[in-house]
Amino acid sequence: MSLFDQKVSDLHELLHKKEITVSDLVETSYKRISEVEGKVQAFLTLDEENARNKAKALDERIGQADEKGLLFGMPIGIKDNIVTKNLRTTCASKILENFDPIYDATVMGKLHQAETVTIGKLNMDEFAMGSSTENSGFKDTRNPWNLDRVPGGSSGGSAAAVAAGEVLFSLGSDTGGSIRQPASFCGVVGMKPTYGLVSRFGLVAFASSLDQIGPVTRTVEDNAYLLKAIAGHDEMDSTSANVAVPDYVSALSGDIKGLKIAVPKEYLGEGVKEEVKQSVLDALKVLEKLGASWEEVSLPHSKYALSTYYLLSSSEASANLSRFDGVRYGYRSPDAQNLLDMYKMTREQGFGDEVKRRIMLGTFALSSGYYDAYYKKAQKVRTLIKKDFEDIFQKYDVIIGPTTPTPAFKIGENLADPMTMYVNDILTIPVNLAGVPGISVPCGFSEGLPLGLQIIGKHFDESLVYKVAHAFEQATDYHKQKPQL
């Protein structure tokens, strides 16, 4: 039994009763890391000395007037595309192998205020481009439930570290499913908030109109606490929304009587594995017993989401990644004789294959003569995809479906053809295009691998999404099962 088998609120109480210390929590992390990290490989950088020192400093303040908040002393892992001052931040790319940020992301500032303890930085697909963490420039992270399987991606390290008990919780980022898909594959809870709810300042940009930071946790309640801590308007991110952040935890009443659920037929269609469909139908029965009702609906433009997403996200990425030019930070090719060659050789040598492929696709889609046919067309289809969601939310409270079409696939299985890898994200991508919030919660197993239920809400209706997720979680025990490592 690990301390991390308990919820944040219970650990907080134990701290206050002086039954445990912050140092105990931090040592729980590093002990577990020393036991299982050789197998799981979730981390790119550990911050042991600073974490231990911070734990000692926090322990002196337990119960004093300036000690505040439930997250005080809780050990957290951070995806390595969130910049951390004086702690190496690589985006799992060779081009940033030795990058030592001079500032903190806004979410890190908020975590410092909440006084969490950063354990280390977590592996990911390079620049968050991928669905398996196999595109990391440094290592393959493995699924704690089966070490031959991928943990999902791009926040594979964030999900695997939580599932393996290496940290209590973590932050990931989600552009097309990168929090929800690995959460589903690893049997943990992952939330992609409404676009604009969490500041993107200091999140190394992939596709700026889609990227969101969000929490990965073992329980819905912990997730709600962590989101509350990191959400809110930020003048450093002009796309962040100026809305009040509610107390999500107070919404977790378990009462979902009268809830109207929409189930898109496209989310239970072709390509979705039979056991995945069955797990969703079983979950709907659970929710019905709790007083909810559901109907089949259609999101008619779903089948265009994948194309729309790859054109838009790659276009945005090609612009965002132009900053990696070997001049101000990061890797610089030693081979170049002039500036132009320095740019080209630095980028050629510093980026991995998938990143180059997407930069190429995006540069093509934005280039003269193709802009209207590809980029602008995709932006228009995005409007229709968004409208599909708005139409459904006129009549229904939440949309429910699977998070992924299959459970975790084998390492190496989808590497040969980029398109087969992309198809993994068909159920999560529309949510990013519409900008609405979506959560993945454990809802079953197939061949010993976890499955995830995706619950999607209206813009800024995270409270209801959490309420439904929590009611489902409390009525089932999938979240209580742990991988044997």
Binding site: S307, L311, Y331, K344, G435
Partner: protein
């Protein structure tokens, strides 16, 4: 008919400032052709009277007060620079 030629791929690589190899150019031609061909399914959708979406929230022209603040200290600017000299970032020759 292929959507993109190897010459086009090389042109795009130059625009993207990537010194791709001949082998990469060939692989990327095939892969991009497949992705672009798939993406052309969007032509099925009638978008004649549809406005493009760039961001999902209706936020426009976010302004702030024009107040001067101190810039970054020189040592922080240079901290991650691959090469620097006399407080400046150094790059290879621009004009030969």
């Amino acid at each position: 008919m292929s959507r993109i030629s190897t010459d086009q791929v090389k042109h795009v690589a130059n625009l993207a400032r990537l010194a791709i190899t001949e082998e990469e150019a060939n692989t990327l031609t095939q892969q991009l052709d497949k992705i672009i061909t798939f993406a052309e399914q969007l032509n099925e959708v009638d978008t004649d009277h549809v406005e493009p979406t760039s961001h999902v929230l209706e936020i426009k022209n976010v302004m702030r007060e024009d107040v001067a603040k101190p810039g970054l200290p020189n040592e922080e600017v240079l901290k991650n620079a691959p090469e620097h000299q006399d407080g400046q970032i150094k790059v290879p020759p621009i004009i030969e």
